[in-house]
Amino acid sequence: MKKAFEKPGLVLPSRGLTYALKRHRSQLLLAALLLAGTQAGAQVTFPTNGISEPKEGCYAFTHATIVKDPQTTVTDATLVIRDGKIVDLGPGAAIPKDAVVVDCKGKYIYPSFVDIYSSYGLGEAKRGGGSWNAAPQFLSNTKGAYGWNQSIKSEVNAVSLFNTDAAKAASLRGAGFGTVLTHQQDGIARGTATLVTLADDRENNVIIREKAASAFSFDKGTSTQNYPNSLMGTVALLRQTFLDGQWYKSRPAKEGVNLSLQAWNDNLQLPQLFAVNDKWDAVRADKIGDEFGVQFIIKGGGNEYQRIAEITATKAAYILPLNFPAAIDLEDPTDARFVALADMKHWEMAPSEPGAFEKANIPFALTAADLKDVKQFLANVRKAIEYGLSEQKALEALTKTPATLIKAYDKVGSLEPGKLANFLIASGPVFKENTILLQNWVQGNKYQLKSEGWNDVRGTYSINLSNGQAYTIEVKGAADKPQVSLLQKDTLSGKIDISDNLINMVLPLSKGSNNGLRLSGIIGQDKWMGTAADSAGNSLRWTAMLTRPFQQKSDSTKKIAAAEIGQLLFPFNGYGWDKLPQQQDLLIRNATVWTNEKDGKLENTDVLVKGGKIAQIGKNLSAGNARVIDGTGKHLSAGIIDEHSHIAISKGVNESSQSVTAEVRIADVVNPEDVNIYRQLSGGVTASHLLHGSANAIGGQSQLIKLRWGQSAEELKVAGTDGFIKFALGENVKQSNWGDRNTVRFPQTRMGVEQVYMDAFTRARDYEKQGAGKRRDLELDALVEILNSKRFITCHSYVQSEINMLMHVADTFHFHVNTFTHILEGYKVADKMKAHGAGAGTFADWWAYKMEVQDAIPQNAGIMHEVGVVTAINSDDAEMARRLNQEAAKSIKYAGVSEEDALKMVTLNPARLLHVDSRMGSIKVGKDADLVLWSNEPLSIYAKAEKTIVDGIVEFDREYDLQLRQRIAAERSRLTAKLLNEKKKGTPVEKASYRPEEIYHCEDLQGGHQHEVIQ
């Protein structure tokens, strides 16, 4: 109550009177009852402090150009509002007798804008829950009958937390908004959003829909719980919660009451918002929705224009922020080095995002979210228009589209009888540069944004003075900041100042004169009049009559030509393609071909590639239409397959919060833009097995990709292959090197590791036997797949005892461990591995980086190979992966492995370990054309990959690479000049700074990998 009285805009009587009146509540009630006789809807429970002042707030805005909706504009029309709603509109609208008439001649009226991604009245977005070195927290800290995970806050309702915020409301109104959909921006499931107007009124009155949408994000916000601590964990949590919600509908007895799941289910009826910060996250969010029949409305991150095809394919509507990146200060050339071309290009192209969406016909709304200063909003809309957005679409994205998306178009988003009286009065077309937003009416309340400019006095006037002198003046400039000049032989500029309808002017009557004619007066209905003083101090009377109205120059917004803003690249990186390459037939002629088949090494041999497959191997093959690549003096091998890689993964390689995280999937977080894809192509890598890290006994599901540079995450994935999962043993799993805080999680010993497996597989076996209606558990689903040999294990391992242990666990549950990775003591148990049927993917010569690798030897691969274990050499490292041929060659050096067998360790053997040897790993007719043309024998340190071919596409070509370097240099220099010019113009700039790339390894905690120069 008290709070409501303190709202600005309300009549605030003296406090003494308040108390006095409270005692006479009965009288107030009586007054209320009297009113009720005429209008039942006017009743409220809130007592009035003072004389009740019932009013209907009827206004008529006449002679206006009214833009009812983006498609409909009426001129010289009247808008009639009453009780906060529109009652009539049109050229012939009748003006009620009790209406206050506002003459809007020359003005434009628009529906006030609607922002459906806001935290207005709920505080800023929250983040950063747990502290870095806190002890692990396994369950939610939220008190009450809520769910297990603290980042699922479905039970939160913005409407219950909402408090109006006068300052914020005023700034949003200033940008043209009248209505916002607001929610608490905290957590992965953020509960419901409430639709409110920006009127300065009691919360009770501004809420127009209590629960208007449900909101989500990939950001766990203030949750202090460990799970999830990766993007893939977040996706897994969302997926599991969708399933749990369905299951909870049957009110499972043991679960008890779970208010989070209850709310989750209830909220599914609402429009679903999903906030992301990046184009690929938008695609990810949509994909989760697709799995559960939910179409999210996606709040984008501003770089979606870079992959408009994939964005279109989501079929989602978008909410686009307009926080275009600031210009970067490149004046210091050494600092400029740390700014990637991609960042410069994004600066240049980001304003084209809304236009790109319009062109692609993707529905979108605009939001002021993410802007540092909401005052920048309209300027940025105008910028988007310069960069290709149409004005009509801009208006639609601010009114009809957002209102429609949240099913509130019956209330806001256009000017129609029955809708809220939320409208803007502007001095001209709203998106023109010189247009002033004069007033923003919200629920029938007037909010003046700018008083100057309402009276547009611009035009040519004749001034007549009482001494008989006459002058002609011209008033021009902006309506809110007019300028005056005296028209005579030499046009002389004077001064004009208008406050309300009082005016004063100083007109120098001759050139260089300091004191000319000083005039003071009033702007009357038909003429200006008042008192003047000449330079001699004589008092005079004056009048001014309009002789010629101001002629507005056609103010067409300038448009930036598409050519001026550079070119999209796929991926959006200096080395990206300007156009995605097409598959073509190839004939590699006269090379030494390392087949990896029984033919061995074939000299002077041709290989023909058709349709992405190896079509023919032989001598003097006919090229037909194929592009001929001369292989004379060069060596052709199958593409390198890195069986253990962590490149191209977005936001976390370890869901390290639990000992068993079989539910998380690398497939959910493939990052096709990682420049290391290109760098590894330059080292002859054509496929990479992307693994979860080694923090957990049972880690996440793996993903095999081919290095199809420029394609989307989905297109990188190798289809139709067996699923794999990462396991891990030893120090990482038992957290030996995690610091003293991490001594809580089970297991802390190798003994415990075994029990984690026994427990997990026992649970999985029991789960599998449960009948219909069981809770679908994604973690156990993955384990059941292992039990049924439908999913295969790659297990991070070092010492012989644990290797032996896992094979025994597998035997107990009747499955096989497919691959031991790292496996640095594999040489000690190679016979057992062979008997079990396990393969090995190992490092060539790593050791000494931690205790459990003290017995690692560089002859390991050689021994395992000799004993008959399928052995691969892999990287676990983005740099080393570029030299896997050299790593394989170390087996020749240390253990006398033959060159051909060594080559197989990075080609055919990993293909066998990954169950793709029928398609990859050797040069054989019918297999995928994944090939590398080397400058020298492929195992020599002097060999460079000259061309790397994936599915018949030359993905890396050392000659083309030289052209790319030139393109990067030219494009950097063009953008540098442009950015320098921007600084010169006075545009605010940001400091040039280094943005680290995401580079992961299994062994991040233990070292072994080379240090990054800039951390």
């Binding site: 050494t334 600092d335 030299r883 340190i941 580079i999 233990q1006 240090h1011 120069v1013």
Partner: protein
């Protein structure tokens, strides 16, 4: 052909060191009589290659190198037909012997507390019994400079030879350089508190320390002795070099400025971006130890092979540089760092020089070693094939100061043990 030598080497290793534990891999005794390595391809280290050559050494020193050297009567002669003879590879920047297991704190002796510790000396912590050392020797790495880390001035490194009973035996050149680790001079992300300014403040604190030390040393008598200032004496008298760890342009410019202001011999260690200012480095006579030839490009727009070809760019500009690798166990791959540099623009002999002679010059030991020239220490590696290419590099013999060192190591022993288990040959 090459495979024969591999088998030969393995057999030799078995014969010599059967059933020996690492603990019984003894440091070799002083050279007793002259040794002649004949019929070999001799890579002198200065670019010269002698085919079918002979190298002779006695009392630890090289006494003859050439194609017409005949063996003395009492000499040990090895016929190295088909094999290659190289100067021992020098690891110019390492924490070898200061760390045994990177993740085990008790085994780490490389990082002392405090920002300015010029008096800290790595030599006395160098563990000659580290199991890692033998795995380097068996790849032809025979000398290493051992560097302390931690703080801004971390202390002094020393060059050690890798076949010793204790650190006193090992010392090849004690306290050859003082190490200064410049903070990174780059703004990262959109950090609100600019790390750049913080870095500059640290640099200024080091400059102040240098100025104070210089002033202190100008006055011979002190009532209170300042060990940190005293530790700077050899630097200012140029008996010691200043190794400045710097990667980025601004850091390297500061390093050049340090050389000028304090009139000291500066070497840049790191030099990731040295290719951008080769002319400045040359003009100021600043040498570079490239620590990460096998690394990812610093920036996503950089040439994909930039770190591989930086060596060739420095060579072309006439900058004195050598190749390094970080860490300790990783040093055994130093020859292959040179191999990569040869693939990306150096000749093979230039690449060899980059891990031998140039390293010796930079460490200040080129009078004793770095090339196979008469009068220098007989620090020699013999390889069955091209030592810079892993597919052919098999070290069959090595000599440090003329002493034939045992090439066995813990890993070979484990190899033998498990070959025995599986009945492999």
């Amino acid at each position: 052909m090459k495979r024969q030598y591999i088998i030969y080497t393995a057999a030799l290793a078995m014969f010599l060191h059967k059933a020996q534990a690492q603990e019984t891999v003894y440091p070799a005794p002083a050279q007793q009589k002259p040794v002649y390595l004949t019929n070999a391809t001799i890579h002198v280290g200065n670019g010269q290659v002698i085919s079918n050559g002979t190298i002779a050494f006695d009392k630890g020193k090289i006494i003859a190198v050439g194609s017409n050297v005949s063996a003395a009567a009492n000499a040990t002669v090895y016929d190295l037909k088909g094999q290659h003879v190289y100067p021992g590879v020098i690891a110019p920047e390492s924490n070898l012997g200061l760390v045994e297991f990177e993740s085990v704190r008790a085994t780490k002796d490389e990082r002392e507390v405090g920002e300015i510790n010029p008096s800290v000396r790595s030599l006395i912590a160098y563990n000659t019994d580290s199991k890692v050392i033998n795995t380097l020797r068996s790849n032809g790495i025979l000398l290493a400079s051992v560097t302390p880390t931690g703080g801004i001035i971390s202390g002094t490194s020393s060059v050690v030879q890798l076949d010793a009973w204790n650190w006193e035996d090992a010392a090849y050149k004690a306290d050859n350089a003082l190490h200064l680790f410049l903070p990174r001079l780059v703004s990262v992300g959109s950090a609100s508190n600019d790390p750049f300014k913080n870095s500059l403040a640290q640099v200024e604190s080091v400059r102040s320390f240098f100025r104070e030390a210089k002033a202190y040393l100008a006055e011979p008598k002190h009532t209170a002795t300042n060990l940190k200032y005293e530790a700077m004496r050899r630097l200012f008298s140029k008996e010691q070099k200043l190794f400045i760890h710097a990667e980025l342009e601004k850091e390297m410019l500061l390093a050049i400025d340090f050389a000028k202001e304090f009139n000291v011999d500066v070497v840049i260690v790191g030099g990731a971006d040295s290719w951008r200012i080769t002319d400045l480095l040359k003009a100021n006579n600043i040498a570079v130890i490239l620590t990460q030839p096998h690394s990812l490009p610093l920036m996503q727009d950089d040439d994909v092979d930039q770190p591989y070809k930086t060596a060739a760019q420095l060579q072309k500009a006439g900058v004195l540089f050598c190749l390094s690798n970080e860490g300790f166990w990783q040093q055994r791959n130093l020859g292959f760092e040179a191999g990569t540099a040869a693939t990306y623009g150096l000749t093979k002999e230039e690449a060899l020089t980059a891990v031998t002679w140039n390293a010796a010059k930079i460490l200040g030991i080129d009078q004793q070693t770095g090339t196979l020239e008469t009068g220098k220490d007989a620090n020699i590696a013999v390889s069955a094939g091209d030592m810079l290419d892993m597919k052919s590099s098999v070290i069959t013999q090595a000599f440090i100061q003329g002493r034939e060192v045992n090439l066995d190591n813990k890993q070979k022993q484990l190899y033998e043990r498990y070959k025995k288990k599986y009945g492999l040959k």
